[in-house]
Symmetry: C2
Subunit: 623 residues, 2 copies
Amino acid sequence: MSILDWLLGRALATHEEEQQQLGPTAGIPVLGLDALSSAAYGPEAALTLLLPLGALGLRWVGPITLLIVVILSIVYFSYRQTIAAYPGGGGSYTVASENLGPRFALLAGAALALDYVLNVAVGISAGVGALISAVPSLLPHTLLLCLGILLLLTLINLRGLRESGIAFLLPTYAFVGTLGVVILIGVVKAIAGGGHPTAVSPPPALPAATQAASLWILMRAFASGCTAMTGVEAVSNGVPIFRQPRIQMAQKTLTAIIALLIVLLAGIAYLSWAYGIGATDPGKPGYQSVLSMLVAAVVGRGLFYYVTLGAIVTVLALSANTSFADFPRLCRVLANDRYLPGSFAVRGRRLVFSQGIFLLAVLSGALLIGFGGITDRLIPLFAIGAFLAFTLSQAGMVVHWRKLGGKGARTSLLINGAGAVATGITLVVVAVSKFAEGAWLTIVVVPLLVFFFSRVNRHYLRVAQQIATIAPLELPELTAPIAVVAAGSWSKLTQQALKFALRLTTDVYVVQIRTERDVIEDLADSWDLLIGNPARAAGIPPPKRVTLTSDVRRFFGPFVDFVQKLEHDNPGKDIVVVIPDLVMSHWYENILHNNRGAFLRTLLRMRCGSRTVVVNTPFHLQE
Amino acid sequence: MSILDWLLGRALATHEEEQQQLGPTAGIPVLGLDALSSAAYGPEAALTLLLPLGALGLRWVGPITLLIVVILSIVYFSYRQTIAAYPGGGGSYTVASENLGPRFALLAGAALALDYVLNVAVGISAGVGALISAVPSLLPHTLLLCLGILLLLTLINLRGLRESGIAFLLPTYAFVGTLGVVILIGVVKAIAGGGHPTAVSPPPALPAATQAASLWILMRAFASGCTAMTGVEAVSNGVPIFRQPRIQMAQKTLTAIIALLIVLLAGIAYLSWAYGIGATDPGKPGYQSVLSMLVAAVVGRGLFYYVTLGAIVTVLALSANTSFADFPRLCRVLANDRYLPGSFAVRGRRLVFSQGIFLLAVLSGALLIGFGGITDRLIPLFAIGAFLAFTLSQAGMVVHWRKLGGKGARTSLLINGAGAVATGITLVVVAVSKFAEGAWLTIVVVPLLVFFFSRVNRHYLRVAQQIATIAPLELPELTAPIAVVAAGSWSKLTQQALKFALRLTTDVYVVQIRTERDVIEDLADSWDLLIGNPARAAGIPPPKRVTLTSDVRRFFGPFVDFVQKLEHDNPGKDIVVVIPDLVMSHWYENILHNNRGAFLRTLLRMRCGSRTVVVNTPFHLQE
């Protein structure tokens, strides 16, 4: 176990939970990385779609960003209320479950689960992509780098909440700090320059317009820009990770994240308009990210440029971490409602839900491997899940306030209602404008997930129904069982099994299966000497000897048939099958033994009724 | 099971064995393919090494082939005797085991085993190589073709002896027939042409000599030519596959194989001399196999040429089949002597030793995959194993005749003695001349195999020693066991387990493990109602309730500790641990349940003593 201690830290006691909980300082890196890192790609995504408009496109950056910021603010206020109303976490799933019923809850749960998995794959892959565009010689190692980062994130998260908070502190604040400084300098320069500052390192000239602005283009630009809002629901899903006073801590964290995000988005939009920075075509030579051009225009390509770009790359690669904080908690609430196996609700050695972390690592790892570490094509899938969850959560809150009633509730209802309408419209816009790019896949995967969850739930309900009882113990009649000893040749193993059987009952069958006749000696040869006479001498009925054979050398079939017949012929009696079991002193010695005992046990378990139980009498081999 | 029936045929009864046994007609394809196919590469290998001698090299083909034929004849006579003396099969291993002791036997066994595995990989790869040189567009599929043929051979052999005999009949006789006809026509033409026939399609002119003949070159040419003798031991290893009179059948088969091989070798040697056909450099453009040039020279490049070449390619690819006939039987004799697991001595559904067939397929498949289907570099390893086995077998026969004594024995002793000396010298020549090409690897692998066999044997001896007993059953004191029920919440599962425990003994502990406290209800809450009162009412001591907890949420540790303590505190009593076991109606439902029961059973088996046994009480879930 010492390697686990070294890798993950000592096991934490349950009462140490509180010390693991976070405040806003660590909460921002743990739950905010996803939202904040969106600033690095949301504006870029919108600008890319405005490319055909040429220089005129920049005019629209302001309005589009404004719209996004307005929706973001609405979403902020409504999630603030969700946090207060549902401090148990689970976010959209919980809200929908309490207010809209299980169907909508599952829809939200499935959308969120898919979103989290995609977020890990896309986030890591985007970070590695940015790193590779800086250091092209790493290209052949794309997948390896992706999987390495995934492994790192998994390990850090398995080490517990506190440790991930600490690990991501520096990159997060470096990102916010450097980008904030750039925006501050840029805005000061822009104002000093009367709205038209001179770039230190000028961006490439914008291409000529090939199209006029149309509603369709603007809609698609808006939909792409909305990816900047993904990750905003994270705090409301992860409320329980905060220390007391929990609601205030979570709300403070959410406020900080949204405020930072708005500053970053607005700053980037303003500066790209002021400096005349448009997107460059991603697939073509000479491509540069918007942020790279923007930082270079404001501060030039000096040391600070590289530090800022380094922080952006790091935060992109680590933005996946938000999923690691929330996905396991989503699995936990799903498990508590019996939509997933109960083990997702069990805390591991470091008080995190290790099974959810594993599952997320496996699923996103599979995506990364399947796409070879390049997941661009998954990006369109992504915003839909988030906005579906947003909308369901807001709609749920509307129902919640309506049920609650009262004065304060009316204002809250209005805020959440506005949120529901805004995010609902955005959802439709995103879905329509990204349908062809692959968003249709979400429409396939989410229902499949909902179906899966329902089937799992049905299974657990069936089990619960069949095993549930409140009846007190009925004391059984003390009928002695029938024992069946699976015997080989006469050995200490057989002897031990037979002794055990005789301690249970005097009704014992010793069954020898002789298919390859020359392989084991016939017990009949020395039966009386070894077994019959000693039993008679002790005054107990001697065990009954049974020899099973098979023309076609079937070993297990005849034995199972025999036990089934016994069970059938002796209603009301337990059948205890005793199988001698040779326990090796080293695990690798097992390959030298056919594990017939284990196979026989499995077969009897499947084929016989509940009155047949199997006992292995272990014989421990000495060194 | 119907898919197995379709793939492998119905299970054969043990008494059907005789109908599966072969005569010489089917015996030649089954056991002779390896030896006969050697004619396709042995002469070529010798001629390749004579290349530097130019046209003068052809002078030496006759003497070298003569030497090989002489040794082959000696080997033939001595294996004839081996067959008569050891009709149980196992060849070199058995002979060495009976006469030279276990060390030499293992050496022969290891050499043979390695040889068989190499033969499969090299044979298939050579056949595919020949096919690809005819149809170069198949090159990218080399490995797939190799593995496909391996799968085919495996399946055919799993279908039983008879079926493989029938399957390989046609290719074998097509090979011998077409090549025989070519040789006959060639010899007639050569004699008619006064020793210098005119080629229908003339071979390329021989290159100028770059070296003079030296002992070293001739020695290496001889050593390479000796690969023509591999596979000759097959019949003596596989005697039990023949029908009665077994010895005569086997001897007839061996005679036929050797006679055919000698005719082919001598014919090829004579014709390449007569037509002036030398090898061409394999690595260079314009490469043609010797047999291709020879067939073209004798009959021209018409239809018959292609039929003959097709037969050669097929036989090369299928030559691996001899290993499939013999390797499993070698494993069987090794298993009977406890050098391998006993399951290698168990006949599968079609009365062949299926485990040995699987192992051979897996090992040679791994070699093919490891070398990407191109196994040229393994060829040098190959003849050494064969000649080591030859030599040990002959030497063993010398000791055998010496022990036997008498008149006939003296002649036999002389024949085998000559064989031992001839093959021993050849072994040294082959080893020396191929050492640098990779034969040293054999010197590493064979001792490792011997070491492995010895360790396996030691393990089985240790087991046998520890479990062996001839003491009759001692009847136990009838001490009731202590039962420990691993309980969850109160359910039919727990109830069933508790009832089972109470039927065994009144000394019952009900143990609840509560690590995540909120997950299962505390049995203490309703203990008296559900369990205590009913027991008291029935006048038996109520079960003892135990609640185990763990600060760090360890589930299994506390339970195992508890059982260990019980075992320690109650010497002389059995501890029966009863674990409720929910049996699913579909296998895939198992992923929805943590298999804590199975894990707990395994832990108890490893950590507790032999007085602790585990019982799973199965509760079968209904549809």
